[in-house]
């Protein structure tokens, strides 16, 4: 294409989000008669998520695929879909984010120099550990779980009775192996690709977090596009979503099969009710304004 938009992603080449943005680039090229295309810089080549967000705001890069987590301290509305147990299931999350609530959240990005284009999947995050199968909240008590540097994650693990331990991702494998920590939490593909399943053979599908990912465009780039091209970008982004979900489902199934084949013990029939109830203090702390409260209610009211 004449103009290649630069897009950042922290995941490696071939990952569903990376492939989805490449696919979007192809669609965009068709829709704009070759005026616009997309070049994906995968594997965090241009920086970690927090940095790539700033770069997008400054207009250094054009597109950025990020988890909603790093936006929590920047855009208030993104806190809500990042709350534990806000979504009842992946289907519920799809309904909410594909509907008017998702549109409202996408619109909130504009005040921060970004154009929210679409949401992608990141599955559901669950706990895994090296010690024992976790059948109930009691089993979690006192166990050290690595979490990302995020207030919600720390409060959530504390509320469940665990010992939240922030730690760089690269040190998690050897830390579980040596016993610095007992486990961590993540979705199927990351549990598998990080190799953590080799050292943490107990995975409990408590599905505490279903945090969607988001594709944003720099407002600086956006403003330079014609109305026609802007529409093409929006369309191509939306059309990449079903493609991404298909890849995600395949990827999840492949990871699940590989992990199971390795002999990891999966606890899938856990009663989530006590987990959900334990989240009250987390909601009390983070859902403070009326705007956020109404957003929570609208999500919960979505069938």
């Amino acid at each position: 294409a004449e103009t290649m938009l630069r897009s950042s992603d922290t995941h490696p080449d071939g990952y569903p989000t990376v492939e989805a943005v490449k696919y979007m680039g192809k669609l965009l090229e068709e829709k704009t008669d070759g005026r616009l295309g997309i070049e994906v810089f995968h594997s965090a080549q241009l920086g970690e998520e927090k940095d790539s967000i700033e770069q997008t705001q400054f207009g250094v890069i054009d597109l950025d695929r990020v988890s909603l987590g790093p936006f929590n301290n920047i855009i208030e509305e993104t806190k809500v879909p990042s709350l534990p147990y806000i979504f009842r299931s992946i289907d519920h999350m799809h309904k909410v984010m594909d509907g008017p609530i998702g549109e409202d959240i996408l619109k909130a990005f504009e005040a921060h120099g970004l154009i929210g284009l679409c949401f992608y999947d990141a599955g559901a995050r669950s706990f895994y550990n090296s010690q024992k199968p976790i059948m109930s909240m009691d089993d979690l008590k006192g166990m050290k779980f690595r979490v990302m540097q995020s207030d919600v994650f720390v409060k959530m693990v504390d509320a469940l009775g665990g010992n939240a331990t922030p730690m760089p991702y690269g040190e998690v494998y050897s830390s579980i192996q040596t016993g610095v920590i007992d486990g961590a939490e993540n979705n199927w593909p990351s549990f598998e690709s990080s190799g953590h399943f080799e050292v943490a053979p107990y995975y409990t599908l408590d599905q505490h977090l279903i945090v969607p990912e988001v594709l944003v465009m720099s407002k600086k780039t956006w403003d330079k596009l014609s109305a026609e091209d802007q529409a093409a970008v929006r369309e191509a982004a939306k059309e990449s979503v079903p493609y991404m979900r298909k890849l995600w489902a395949e990827r999840e199934a492949a990871s699940e099969a590989k992990v199971k084949e390795a002999g990891v013990k999966i606890v899938s029939d856990i009663d989530k009710t006590p987990f959900i109830e334990a989240m009250k203090p987390v909601y009390d702390e983070f859902v403070t304004s009326d705007k956020l409260k109404s957003l929570v209610e609208r999500i919960q009211a979505t069938e």
Partner: protein, 176 residues
């Protein structure tokens, strides 16, 4: 030395000493925080969640302050092989170009540091609660010292006094 240089050198030496002292305190504090993190996790089974972020912030302070003092004391790594081949007069001109380049970079640290701090001021640092903009204060302060110390070098060279360089000359003790 003229009175002007006596006062200039005195003031700059004090600034450098303060920067080094702050950096040293930072290093010792950082040691204490990370030791506390290990102790909390291993012994108390309650991992402090602020130690990592706060230590990283402190590290920024002593890197940028230390790097600025390094300009004054001339301990930055540099490639001096080519310079040996040149006559002293040319060398002085090139050193001056170097110092001007560093001044420009220091100005960038200040100006763009302020821009970054401004852009990230409404955000918060997870598990610490401070503004995200505080992460750039070290960069800005380091930039200020960098510019001041480079200007001191330019002034000293113009007046025929020594300026310190890695692997070559050190600042005389009375000027440190």
């Amino acid at each position: 030395m003229t009175t002007f240089f006596l006062i200039l050198t005195r003031v700059m030496a004090i600034l450098a000493r303060i920067a080094l002292a702050l950096s040293g305190i930072g290093l010792v504090l950082m040691t204490a925080f990370i030791a506390w993190q290990v102790f909390g996790r291993f012994v108390l089974n309650d991992t402090p969640t602020w130690t990592e972020s706060v230590s990283v912030l402190i590290m920024g302070w002593f890197i940028f302050l230390g790097a600025a003092v390094g300009i004054r004391e001339g301990y930055h790594l540099s490639f001096d092989v080519f310079l040996y081949l040149l006559p002293d007069r040319v060398k002085k001109v090139l050193h001056t170009v170097s110092d001007l380049v560093v001044v420009a970079f220091g100005c960038g640290m200040i100006g763009y540091g302020v821009q970054l701090a401004d852009a990230t001021w409404p955000t918060t640092i997870p598990n610490v609660g401070w503004s995200g903009g505080t992460a750039f204060l070290a960069l800005i302060s380091g930039g200020v010292l960098l510019v001041l110390f480079s200007l001191e070098r330019l002034a000293r060279r113009a007046a025929g006094l020594v300026t310190a360089r890695f692997g070559e000359v050190e600042l005389p003790d009375e000027d440190r």
